[in-house]
């Protein structure tokens, strides 16, 4: 089964860290990424720039509308994701618990809905 581990956290939190703490935090993500790779479960991952850099597009009555900012304004924003392939939800949760994001934010675990799957 494929799962998306989505990290929601307050980008202000990162901004408040000292350079040394931020480096340690990044290194923890690096090590986590590597552990996922070594375990052979990592499909893809990405870190996203903060919601302040977001632009939203929608089509309304045939016209595209472009808005500045994220779809939902919340303190905790989607900051990145890990897409993993594991046996079941329990394994996905055990990887989510190891994600540094679980300590400084929350990690939402969602099964990936593959194309064509009912």
């Amino acid at each position: 089964m494929e799962y998306m581990l989505m990290i929601f956290s307050d980008p202000e939190g990162w901004a408040r860290l000292t350079p040394a703490q931020a480096a340690e935090g990044m290194a923890a993500y690096g090590a986590y990424h590597e552990a996922l790779q070594k375990a052979g479960v990592l499909r893809s991952s990405a870190r996203l720039r903060p919601g302040s850099t977001a632009t939203t597009v929608r089509l309304q009555s045939g016209k595209s509308q472009v808005l500045d900012g994220p779809f939902i304004e919340t303190r905790e924003q989607l900051g990145g994701y890990f897409r993993i392939e594991v046996a079941d939800l329990d394994s996905a949760l055990s990887w989510a618990a190891r994600c540094p994001g679980a300590a400084h934010g929350v990690v939402e675990v969602r099964p990936v809905w593959a194309m064509g799957e009912p």
């Binding site: 340690e24 290194a27 070594k38 375990a39 939800l89 949760l93 055990s94 190891r98």
Partner: protein, 393 residues
């Protein structure tokens, strides 16, 4: 316990949670009774009968009510109730019930934890945990799993499952050193409580005493695992003055009793003995690593557990030198059961670093950091890696 009488686990639980609510309402005023568990069960049984009376139209309920009334005289709970509690523990850890549900089931049925709390502790989705518990209870009812203490010849095998489940509950509680999650902190205490109950009912079983000793030893060091700033302190650097001396004394006495018992030393007695050898540091000032290596030899022979083999390698490194430790560790390289086990990578990193293999140590530390759940331990590992004078990737 209550279910032992009625065979209806769900109804027994409801009655028990009513009793707990009554207890919480009464105890602050009247004080905790001398024997809280017997008191709780008496109240629970009354509530259960009340509940059954309310739904008398149900034939089965009426039959159970009749059965309960027949068997419940107010004097009999002193001796009989703990035995039923014991029987219930055995039912929860019955071989017919999936192994990974044993501990959660005990927590719910014997201690009244709700499914969501248990799910959090065992890192399982709440809906999935609730489903597993319901399925297990249905199985107990439909398969007619009895709430009896197994006969002497079947006891050792059945007892192992009970002890393992209690230890699993303890381990989940133990893994929350900051005590940030009160529900998980309780889990460790509750596991010790369950084991005490077991030890009082089976006072001659060496492994029961061994497990209780093991958990008390671990528990005695609970607060010493963090310094004032909340940083992780590894066992070897802990200040023995911060260990709970009374708890260690109790653990030592239990271990002596276990050794005096007729049964051969099992896994938990050996593990308790390892903890005891660590606790010696509070008087001797040092740890007897040679004795620990010997104990892990015995554990490896007994259980063939890769974790025991890992600990044996670490003990060998301490008693016979880094090379001996690394040689023992080499035999474990590639063991799939250790690939996602943080302590394996941390131990490997430590030994490689001592051996001068800085690059290998760095790689192993990265793996350990990536697998660790606790932020404080993760930071500790990162600092160890950085102290090698390496660029901390």
């Amino acid at each position: 316990m209550l279910a032992a009488r009625t065979r209806d686990v769900a109804a027994a639980e409801d009655a028990l949670s009513d009793a707990l609510a009554a207890a919480l309402a009464e105890w602050p005023g009247r004080g905790v009774p001398d024997s809280p568990e017997a008191w709780l069960l008496t109240v629970a049984r009354r509530k259960f009968i009340d509940a059954l009376r309310r739904q008398r139209h149900d034939d089965e309920a009426a039959a159970q009510l009749q059965w309960l009334s027949d068997h419940s005289t107010d004097g009999d709970h002193d001796r009989a109730l703990p035995d039923r509690q014991l029987g219930l523990l055995f039912a929860c850890a019955h071989p017919g019930i999936a192994r990974d549900v044993h501990a959660p089931l005990m927590l719910q049925v014997v201690l009244g934890f709700d499914a969501a709390t248990i799910a959090s502790a065992f890192l399982v989705a709440p809906a999935a945990m609730a489903q597993r518990l319901v399925r297990a209870k249905t199985k107990i009812r439909q398969a007619g799993i009895g709430f009896d203490v197994p006969a002497a010849d079947a006891l050792p095998g059945r007892l192992d499952a009970v002890l393992e489940a209690i230890y699993a509950a303890y381990a989940e509680g133990w893994s929350d050193p900051e005590g940030a999650d009160a529900r998980r902190r309780n889990l460790a205490d509750e596991a010790i409580w369950l084991c005490r109950l077991l030890a009082s009912l089976l006072p001659d079983e060496g492994e029961v005493l061994g497990l209780l000793s093991l958990m008390l030893h671990a528990h005695s060091r609970r607060d010493a695992r963090r310094d004032a700033q909340g940083h992780y302190v590894p066992l070897s650097e802990q200040d023995p003055a911060r260990w709970d001396a009374a708890m260690i004394d109790e653990a030592e006495a239990l271990l002596r009793r276990a050794n005096a018992s007729a049964s051969p030393s099992g896994r938990f007695q050996l593990e308790a003995a390892v903890q005891s050898a660590h606790a010696v540091r509070r008087h001797a000032g040092h740890v007897d690593w040679r004795a620990i290596a010997g104990l892990y030899d015995a554990l490896c022979a007994l259980t063939a557990s890769p974790v025991a083999a890992l600990n044996r390698a670490v003990a060998l490194a301490q008693s016979c030198g880094t090379t001996a430790g690394l040689t023992a560790l080499q035999a474990l390289v590639g063991d799939p059961r250790l690939q996602q086990y943080q302590p394996y990578w941390a131990a490997r990193a430590e030994l490689l670093a001592r051996h001068g293999d800085v690059a290998g140590a760095q790689q192993a530390y990265q793996q350990a950091i990536g697998l660790e759940r606790e932020p404080a331990v993760r930071r500790h590992l990162q600092q160890r890696a950085a102290s090698l004078g390496l660029s901390n990737a």
